[in-house]
């Protein structure tokens, strides 16, 4: 799906009311590799290699894929925590990719991020109040009392006891820490939050707490999420639409029900079948698609379709030409020659 135009119309759960909050077009993020005697650039890790998608106001877009496929990079590039190599990112009508640093700083409150590792994303030497209040320090000139008021408000919102305001992160459990991270993200009333695997580091029994919290907050504040995860079941639970990434590109993007029930891309199929079902009786019956081999290196992706090295349904054409993204069903996009074939044939 290199160099293809963006999907003309993105699938929309409620076409009449929602508007596009985020529009990403052909986003590329290449990390240069240097080498040789003079340290010239000799290549690049193509962590994200041309992805396009929209996120509508109030919805949750799930992004799934294997480790290293570029999910985090994509999420960070969307918030311009990385300087994207190419592509445009429009959030709430402004092209983020070209803003000056100062202008970008002004727009930061509208877009926030929740991180994967609740331990690593909190400065161990700041108190909870300090951490949650940091965005306020940066973007408001409120007095202490007002800030504190807001901090307490946020702590209430994420279900943290106000008494904890002066403690340090190490005195909290993982779930609580993640709540602190969420409170920080909420501090400036953002519209859009990128959640980068917010539950991956948490224990199963805690994961549900955090996901529920995110859902509640979405309802309460009308937030829009980009929810990155590799836990397919959890994505199914929380997302409205899901994009499946493989080696820096989106191979399939569809409304959640559609995707899980009728996956159109062989990779999505394999991914879904690989998830173990917590049901002994169901498991025995199922024919699991086991992919052979490992994900190729993003610095040296295979020619043609990125997935051709592991695809169980690989065809000759896949090794030659990268497939285009097509709307195979209404609102359901896939990039696979199986469908190109169908279409040209039919």
């Amino acid at each position: 799906m290199k160099d293809i135009p963006a999907p003309s119309s993105a699938p929309n759960p409620a076409p009449d009311t929602a508007r596009k909050l985020v529009e990403v077009r052909d986003l590329k993020m290449h990390f240069p590799i240097y080498g040789g005697i003079l340290r010239r650039q000799i290549g690049a890790v193509k962590a994200v290699d041309g992805v396009s998608f929209d996120i509508f106001e109030g919805e949750t877009l799930g992004i799934v894929g294997e480790s290293g496929c570029g999910k985090s990079t994509c999420g960070r590039a969307v918030l311009r925590l990385y300087e994207a190599t190419a592509g445009s990112i429009t959030i709430d009508g402004t092209d983020i990719a070209t803003l000056s640093q100062e202008a970008l700083r002004k727009r930061r409150p509208a877009m926030q991020m929740v991180f994967q590792d609740p331990q690593a994303s909190l400065n161990p030497r700041m108190t909870v109040a300090g951490i949650i209040g940091e965005p306020l320090d940066e973007h408001t000139n409120w007095n202490r009392a007002k800030k504190l008021e807001r901090i307490y408000e946020l702590m209430d919102a994420v279900g943290l006891n106000r008494d904890f305001a002066n403690r340090y992160p190490h005195a909290f459990s993982g779930g609580q820490r993640q709540r602190i991270g969420i409170a920080r993200a909420l501090a400036l009333n953002p519209k859009f939050i990128v959640c980068d695997e917010p539950i991956a580091a948490l224990d199963v029994s805690i994961q549900a707490q955090v996901v529920n919290l995110l859902e509640e907050l979405q309802e309460q504040f009308g937030l829009t999420y980009m929810f990155i995860s590799h836990d397919l079941s959890m994505v199914r639970h929380i997302a409205d639409r899901v994009a499946v990434m493989y080696l820096g590109v989106i191979v399939e993007l569809a409304p959640v029900q559609d995707l899980y029930d009728h996956p159109q891309h062989p990779y999505t199929e394999a991914l879904l079948s690989a998830v173990p079902e917590p049901d002994p009786s169901a498991e025995v019956r199922k024919d699991r698609i086991v992919l052979r081999g490992d994900v190729p290196s993003p610095s040296n992706p295979p020619k043609g379709c990125n997935f051709c090295t592991r695809c169980p349904k690989v065809m000759d054409i896949c090794r030659e030409i990268a497939p285009e993204t097509l709307e195979v069903r209404p609102g359901h996009f896939a990039a696979c020659h199986l469908h190109t074939h169908d279409q040209t044939a039919g």
Binding site: A120, E138, R167, A171, S173, R184
Partner: protein
């Protein structure tokens, strides 16, 4: 995540550090010894009746006595008082040189680690300083700037400044490297990213998120530096490149006392022991601090 301590009262980080520090016996003893030495050198002179420079020619070369607990030297000056005075200089040199060197090292390390653009340049600079043969450089520097500085600031201050900067300028590299390494890692930590996503500008980001977290390697190299600075100063004095002979420092006292090693062994031994004791105690403090500042060891 098995996190205990939901009911622990809020308290400062440093209390935890202190708690862990206390459990390190060596460090605790080191701390007490070091404080004692500092007290001896800086408060002692106010209590002790003799001045370090007062010559009582009639009571030359005396042994230990009540009036002169460490005896007197060849001019009848009270060695006890000279030890205090010498300690002041040695400690001051050690501390100031340490602060300077750690400051330089941290600053360069942070800049190099944080700003990719200057990284190459600063690291080449660090390599360059690492490749400079230190002692010759130190000697040449002390020879070179001794007089100009002495004439601007006066002999004592001039040489003090000289030695302190010489030591600092030739010893910041290790700190810089360690700090840079840490900053490179810290920069990728999610809380730094989080701060950036909030829109925190680099200056505040460094001050608020990076610096406090490189504190522990910095503290450790600081204690090591303090020890090396004291030794370097005394080595310089021993080689005749440090403070002038009429200006007592522990290093000078050792150097002067070595000739008398046979008649009055204590004259070289006492300052020698004080130097070792200081260095030793500072090293133990450093050890304890390293443990206490390491969250893995400190535990949560």
């Amino acid at each position: 995540m098995t996190d205990i301590a939901t009911a622990r009262p809020p308290r400062n980080q440093w209390w935890d550090v202190w708690d862990q520090f206390k459990t390190h016996k060596g460090a605790l003893v080191g701390m007490i010894v070091f404080l004692f030495i500092v007290f001896f050198c800086f408060v002692g002179p106010y209590i002790w009746p003799y001045s370090a420079t007062y010559i009582d020619i009639r009571s030359r070369n005396q042994g230990f006595s009540f009036a002169h607990p460490m005896g007197t030297d060849q001019l009848g000056r009270d060695i006890f008082a000279r030890m205090m005075k010498g300690g002041q200089v040695s400690l001051a040199v050690g501390i100031v040189a340490m602060v300077l060197s750690v400051f330089l090292g941290t600053m360069i390390g942070v800049l190099a680690g944080y700003f990719r653009r200057v990284d190459g340049l600063l690291m080449r600079l660090t390599d360059l300083f690492l490749a400079l043969p230190l002692l010759p450089l130190l000697l040449v520097m002390s020879m070179l700037f001794r007089q100009p500085l002495a004439s601007i600031f006066g002999v004592e201050t001039g040489i003090f400044l000289l030695i302190v900067t010489a030591i600092a300028v030739t010893s910041w590299m290790r700190t810089a490297r360690v700090v840079r390494g840490d900053v490179l890692a810290l920069k990728e930590r999610e809380y730094v990213l989080a701060a950036r996503s909030i829109g925190t500008p680099p200056r505040r980001l460094i001050l608020r998120h990076i610096l406090p977290n490189v504190l522990s390697p910095v503290m450790v190299s600081a204690t090591l530096m303090l020890a090396t600075a004291i030794i370097t100063e005394s080595a310089l004095s021993f080689l005749g490149m440090g403070f002038p002979p009429d200006f007592p420092t522990w290093g000078r006292l050792v150097a002067d006392g070595i000739d008398y090693m046979q008649q009055y062994p204590s004259r070289a031994m006492l300052p020698g022991i004080f130097i070792s004791l200081t260095v030793l105690s500072v090293n133990y403090i450093g050890d304890g601090l390293r443990d206490a500042l390491d969250p893995r060891i400190r535990g949560r």
